[in-house]
Amino acid sequence: MGDTMLTALILVPVVAAVIVMLLPANRKELALPVGFGLSFIPLAIAGYLFFHFETGVAGYQYTQKAVWYEAWGISWNLGVDGISLGLVALSVILVPIALAASTNITDRTKEFVVFTLLLEAGLIGSFLALDLFLFFVFFEAVLVPMYFIIGIWGSERRIYAALKFFIFTAFGSAFLLASIVALSVLHNQQFGAPSFDLRDLMSLDLSLSQSRWLFAGFGIAFAIKVPVFPLHTWLPDAHVQAPTAGSVLLAGVMLKLGTYGLLRFNLNLFPQAAVDAVPIIATLAVIGIIYGAIVAIVQPDLKKLVAYSSVSHLGFIVLGTAALTSAGFQGAVIQNVNHGLTTGALFLLVGMIYERRHTKQIADFGGLAKVMPIFAGLFLFTAFASIGLPGLNGFVGEFLVLIGSYSSIPGFAAVAAFGVILAAIYLLWAYERVFTGVPDKPENQKLVDLTPREIGLMVPLVVLMIVLGLYPKILLDRTAASTEALLDRVEQATTYEVPEPGRLADVFAGITEGDE
């Protein structure tokens, strides 16, 4: 049972997609319910996995490895650890919600459900793959369903956005591909056979320059996916044009491929280069945090605002990764999940209002709290979760990241902390403009508050936001061992030492040492 679990997790959505595809063409109203129902199977599997996950164990669990093509050294090689577990859980949670949020999609519903389910399979596959070839396959394959989701069911400039999304990400993947090729060739040279197994590749003997180049290759791909400033401009376009479900899954899960990749691959494979690159990564992360937030402030479009807020929030995750401390890593891992929940929820909410008013322009709203109190309440709640209000989930990750990064890269952490002010500014100002005041526009006065279905969509997210905010232990327990192991890997492979508390001088020394 255990060893085929992960395979099942990937294949079930695919099978579900096939089932939906085979539904009779004249019963297209069936597609969404069937897809929604089927999407609970991966949720159940992942739930089982999550709660039977052995805490305190650093290695991969539920591993499965089957040779794919021996001569190339590629294999169907899956495993889950603390770093990926949360993301898998996030994926399976958001997909049913995204599907249930898509009742407004009446054109080619079946295809929509199929693409969403395929997207789910691809995303889960990316998080579970321990073989770089397999990872790349999933990493790149997820572009297609998302491309169609944006391109077919998006709004006016959807084609532009879909193409930009695809090409931009594919551009990054190109470097990833070249780097993966290089790794396998190196493995071939050093061990006499090519391999793409992450664990095999970790034992490669890389020269510093090789390690740096490859780090850059992986880094660019993931940086675009995250996205890290200045490679972020595809994101606002994609989000603004994507349908709600697309935005939810894009921001909620897909962007995490980047942050996950940095943690999983860049750090494991090229620890020395990673240590050397800390100043660069941290700089970009901090720029992303501040820049994303500043730019978000004046965005006239709600979705664009949330999109830029993602740039800012994901900066924290990258910063936590660059921190190379226990708290920083844990913060990054948990923030991956948290951001998925809050931003997913924000996009859902924006989608709900867009369905009613067919506009996302902040200027078109005003005083909505009067006519849609439940909506306003949920929005405010989610906004505060996103701002990082303690007690809700956003805080835990951000705080861990900030605290964790301060002990190794204090200057960056201090600047990054400024981002929390800006987050409050852009979200609360947006809330003020959209919800407060008197609803003076006639279109707004007629708006109906959320339906039970819509509230139902939000409930799981809200509950998770509170639970993870107050009791993140369920996640942290599962991640801690893996993040520690990652940190050990970095420490053992390099001269880097995780700063001990109370040795501030050593911290600065550690950073300058890494530069040599």
């Binding site: 794919w68 394959a141 391109g151 084609i159 060739v185």
Partner: protein, 500 residues
């Protein structure tokens, strides 16, 4: 001494050329049959299919034979050499040749099925058309199996001259004529260049047999007569022309756009298979010792092809032209595998196999949408295809994504293979160029998908194509996906396809 006594009979191995015999005889029979009985189109189709299937069966027999050769013990080898190299070393029966035949026959079958409507519209000339297709297929498979430069040249000409005719076979279309004359003029120049290369190689080395040349060259590796180098250069140019590698590609867009829609897929695929088969034979079998010399040259051509093909394909409004330019880029990608030398053979073959299937399928869709007998296929005619004929849109998407090298399609495995080989051979820069070019390539493939799925339908009605077309297209798409997910078997098969 009678005349007969002068002649020592050559070693004959009929099985080694059995598929070609079937094709040639089949073509001749179809022509005769046509003259005599004025058969219906369906009968012609049946006859053609029969020829192809028979040839395929023989190829399977050949495959079996090759397996015996490959697993032969050392003391058996001498006996088997004669069988493996019949006709006094003119051709070889090795995996390379067999793989080439498999690919060629598959492409021919798919191409004919997908473009069958063209032959229905050709009227009385359908039989000639079919015969030419079969003959050219025989020519290109000869290119894949020859170990002699003159045989390669003959195969090249058999294939190419047929294609010149096929390009112009819808003679009532001015553009078809234009395509034919362009293809013919430039093609015959390229042939002349190639054969001049052969002549100079012969002059330089003293033989036209690739195996002998290899022996001679490797014995005298320090002497490199300029004539020999020029010979190599000219042969590379000639083959570069056939596979439409930049800067020898300029005929391809015009011809692919102008030639009849039903046959252009076959034309493009077959020329690529033949050209690359011969190119790797020449370079890998005869001149492995010169790899450091021709390697950078091929790499340069590859880089130029990928960049030029991708960027120009970007701005095309005609899907067939776009596919032609993308074919230029693909020639570059395949050449990326060629630079790796003999080690890259299997990857090159794999790439060739999967790419030509995609190509033939893609042109099949274009023919179904824009007409099998017409020239050109504006991207506008693909607008909203997903709503008009979802099947065509879906298969086309799969094929285009396959060509773009997206994972889970055969195209990705193929690209990955050639990139790995090139990297292994030390051409890192070429791989970087290649991956960037493939990013650019995404754009124009996606543009077609945009038109099909994301734009509003145009009024032009597109009929659901007939069964043969559907089968052929579905098969091409299926192969693309199945090989993409489970590349193992085909990779192993291609892995055996290193020349003896």
């Amino acid at each position: 001494m009678t005349f007969a006594q002068v002649l020592t009979p050559p070693s004959v191995g009929w099985i080694a050329i059995a598929p070609e015999i079937v094709l040639g005889v089949g073509a001749a029979l179809i022509l005769l049959f046509d003259v005599q009985f004025k058969p219906k189109k369906s009968q012609l189709a049946f006859a053609t299919a029969l020829v192809l299937v028979t040839a395929f069966v023989f190829t399977i027999v050949q495959y079996d034979r090759v397996q015996t050769f490959n697993s032969a013990t050392t003391d058996q080898v001498t006996d088997l050499v004669a069988q493996a190299f019949p006709f006094n070393l003119m051709i070889v029966l090795d995996s390379n040749a067999v793989f080439g035949r498999f690919a060629m026959l598959l492409v021919t079958g798919l191409g004919l099925a997908a473009g069958w409507r063209l032959f229905e519209r050709l009227g009385a000339r359908a039989a000639e058309g079919l015969a030419l297709v079969l003959l050219s297929a025989a020519g290109f498979t000869f290119m894949a199996s020859s170990t002699h430069l003159m045989m390669i040249f003959l195969g090249l000409e058999v294939g190419s001259i047929s294609l010149y005719v096929l390009a112009g076979i819808t003679r009532e279309q001015p553009r078809s004529e234009e395509a034919a004359i362009k293809y013919f003029l430039l093609g015959s120049v390229a042939s002349a260049v190639f054969i001049y290369g052969v002549a100079l190689t012969y002059a330089g080395s003293g033989s036209m047999n690739l195996l002998e040349i290899q022996g001679i060259v490797s014995r005298t590796v320090f002497t490199r007569p300029a004539v020999l180098l020029i010979g190599i250069a000219l042969m590379v140019v000639g083959m570069g022309f056939k596979v439409s590698a930049a800067p020898f590609h300029s005929w391809a867009p015009d011809v692919y756009q102008g030639a009849p829609g039903g046959i252009v897929g076959y034309m493009a695929s077959a020329a690529k298979i033949g050209g690359f088969a011969a190119l790797i034979r020449i370079l890998f079998t005869a001149f492995p010792d010169f790899a450091s010399t021709w390697g950078p040259l091929v790499a340069g051509i590859a880089a130029l092809s990928m960049l030029l093909g991708s960027t120009v394909a970007l701005v095309q409004d005609d899907v067939r032209r776009m596919l032609a330019y993308s074919g230029v880029a693909h020639a570059g990608f395949i050449l990326t595998g060629v630079v790796a030398g003999g080690a890259g053979t299997s990857e090159v073959w794999f790439y060739l196999g999967v790419y030509t299937v995609q190509l033939v399928g893609a042109f099949g869709v274009v023919a179904a949408v824009a007409g099998a007998a017409s020239s050109g296929a504006s991207i506008d005619s693909f607008r909203g295809l997903s709503k008009r004929v979802p099947f065509l849109a879906a298969t086309f998407s799969v094929l285009l994504l396959g060509m773009s090298g997206l994972p889970l399609t055969s195209g990705f495995v193929a690209k990955f293979g050639v990139f790995t080989e090139a990297w292994q051979a030390g051409y890192e820069w070429l791989v970087i160029v290649a991956v960037l070019a493939s990013v650019i390539a995404f754009f124009f493939y996606l543009r077609v998908i945009v038109a099909m799925y994301m734009e509003e339908p145009v009024d032009e009605a597109v009929a659901m194509p007939g069964l043969s077309v559907r089968t052929s297209l579905a098969l091409a798409a299926l192969i693309t996906i199945v090989i993409g997910v489970l590349p193992g078997p085909l990779l192993s098969l291609a892995g055996e396809a290193s020349p003896l």
